[in-house]
Amino acid sequence: MNRQVEDYLEKLRCELSTLQELEREDIVRELEAHLRDCVEGGEDAAAVLLRLGEPATLAESYRESATIRRSSRSFSPFVLLRATLGLASQGVTALAVFAAGLLGYSFGLGLALTGVAKCIWPARTGAWLLHGQLIASGTQFYPPPPPAKELLGWWYVPLALISGGALLALTTGVIRTFLSWNRRAGRLRRGPRKLKSAAGLT
């Protein structure tokens, strides 16, 4: 193996660092075998590397196929939302799940944060009632003046943290279910659907 090839494969390894080691080494080993075959067949290694493309671009193509697989097992909001958005080009459902996910995460996080805010600005955070109706909740810059009455007191903190956390967990669960459902059903579903649109064309 010449120096240029070794450098290339090393760069690719770095770019693929998010994949599992077994998967990554399998890819690198396969490309290494390919390069060796080409060079032994009289081809210039540099030309083959050029056809493989930049390590970053190649790694991106590999990752695309791995993203959905991996992310349906992930708990990170970032990974989950990105994978959902990646599917959005294939259907409205994914876009809807993405939007719902974004809402769920922001409300959940917002709610939990007001629980923390209650400890910092106790008078400005809470749930206020006026004549038996909820008129404001969360952290307010100008809390409603009396006769509005704050309802929860310090109970606000655990309630906000628990319900915010529950909302985050629910959002995560929904997206994960959607991703793994899409992974299992996607391939099967796409075949017949394409057939229909092709028939529509004729």
């Binding site: 399998d26 890819i27 080993r29 396969e30 490309l31 075998a33 390919h34 060796r36 075959d37 080409c38 032994e40 083959v48 056809r51 493989l52 493309g53 671009t57 190649l58 193509s61 590999y62 695309e64 196929s65 791995a66 697989r69 391939r187 075949g191 017949p192 394409k194 057939l195 092709a198 028939a199 064309l201 004729t202």
Partner: protein
């Protein structure tokens, strides 16, 4: 979209089917798949497109991959169609047939209109 970009998208769309078709009769390793497709289609394929496709097809169970030790030389990764892969390919071929027939019909209209002008 310029025509080179369009051509590359067109090719990419068909490539998955073409790769599966190359494996219809016998398991092959990456380089053999590329050579087969290039020979049949008289078209230069870049490794950078083919290998990630192979990886994806394996991930969704259309292909299996196995390292095979050669008598002389180094081991190579052979890909073979699974039953699911065969089913998928057959469905793709159907889609392709219907689609290309429709497109050809449309293109005929384009030609006629052009001739009448």
């Amino acid at each position: 979209m310029d025509s080179a970009q369009w051509e590359s998208q067109l090719r990419k769309g068909a490539l998955e089917m073409v790769v599966l078709a190359a494996l219809w009769r016998t398991p092959l390793y990456g380089l053999e798949i590329i050579r087969t497709v290039e020979r049949e289609l008289a078209l230069a394929l870049s490794e950078g497109t083919v290998y990630p496709i192979l990886s994806r097809l394996r991930a969704d169970n259309s292909l299996t991959a196995q390292w095979v030790e050669a008598e002389a030389g180094h081991p190579r990764k052979y890909y073979a169609l699974t039953d699911a892969g065969r089913q998928r390919l057959l469905a793709m071929v159907n889609t392709w047939d219907e689609f290309s027939r429709g497109v050809n019909r449309l293109l005929k209209l384009v030609e006629q209109k052009d001739a009448s002008q």
